[in-house]
Symmetry: C2
Subunit: 197 residues, 2 copies
């Protein structure tokens, strides 16, 4: 059985929760926010700062095409440090025990260790419904505002993944199994994944 | 359990064979080439002609943008007749018994009957290897020639699907489960699918 399971997921698809239950069933470690906590310990940065960086891929401060030489940018250097250190944290965690890792481009970071790569997605209506069920703030949000949050979060994840891996986020060829969680029963879904490992 | 399972698949991914074994395990009818045979019976066309039409989406014979009025085209009419009749055959077959249907845009044709929609894909190297294992003619074919066959076949399937459905062939949002068959064990794969039904 694969020792490392990575999870990519659209916002509101329920992928994180399925990952947590999968880890529970398999008695694997479950890594999600712990990666950021560990990263904050190893760098001088606050967790909030790390999360804000991960929401956008690093851009040089100056418009590169118009200048032949760009002065060193402390912001860019910091951003790159976070990206590099995070890969190190992910590799260290994967070394310790069989695990399920959510997001953070782990499928690419650990590509030489043959992880089982899952991607969860769902119809937009189901994702909105799931968001409303699970998030107090989003419960009363109007349709357009909630949809904007979903689109923007996916865009951030996509940018981050594509910047680090050079691959397209959510493109099925980068995963072993892509599961549409719309109207799927979670228990059956877990059985489906476990039977493939 | 869903009574209708539809299978989309990249050429050389092994999707057809998995579909056949899935039907066997579930004791479902398995429809693949039978659809063409039945279609030939219901129309005046030979099976070879039907297959040749399905390899390309219907195009008007004249370049439409340059003329304001196109005379009736018997070829186009025949092509459209085949497309319409085929949908009818697929619906009739799905009415008769629980079934697995391979290709032919069945997921879209039967969309109002809530089919379970599978899509199989694989890395190009694995698809080439599978082609060589299963097809005497392709065994000794050189790399480029075999790759061309794979690409062209997928292109035909994609065009046919997109013409009929207006949807993108192989785009994960059109399926319930997308499975990468590269290095996957077929028996585990079948268990995975069955546990989701």
């Amino acid at each position: 059985m694969e020792r490392i399971i990575t999870i990519g997921r659209e916002y509101g698809s329920g992928g994180r929760e399925i990952g947590r239950r999968l880890a529970e069933k398999l008695q694997f470690a479950f890594f999600d926010h712990q990666i950021v906590t560990e990263l904050a310990k190893r760098t001088a940065f606050a967790e909030e700062y790390i999360l804000s960086i991960q929401e956008k891929r690093p851009y040089p401060v100056l418009p590169v095409p118009t200048v032949r030489w760009a002065p060193p940018s402390p912001t860019l250097d910091q951003q790159l440090e976070v990206f590099l250190k995070e890969s190190e944290v992910i590799r260290d965690m994967a070394d310790k025990a069989p695990c399920v890792i959510v997001g953070r481009c782990a499928d690419y970071v650990l590509r030489h260790r043959n992880p089982f790569r899952l991607f969860f997605y769902a119809d937009i209506a189901d994702r909105m419904e799931r968001c409303r069920e699970r998030n107090e703030e989003q419960k009363s949000m109007n349709h357009d505002a909630l949809r904007r949050i979903i689109t923007q979060t996916d865009k951030s994840r996509s940018r981050y993944y594509e910047f680090l891996s050079g691959q397209k986020w959510g493109a099925k060829e980068n995963y072993d199994l892509c599961i549409n969680t719309s109207s799927a029963d979670t228990e059956k879904l877990l059985q489906c994944v476990i039977s493939l490992l």
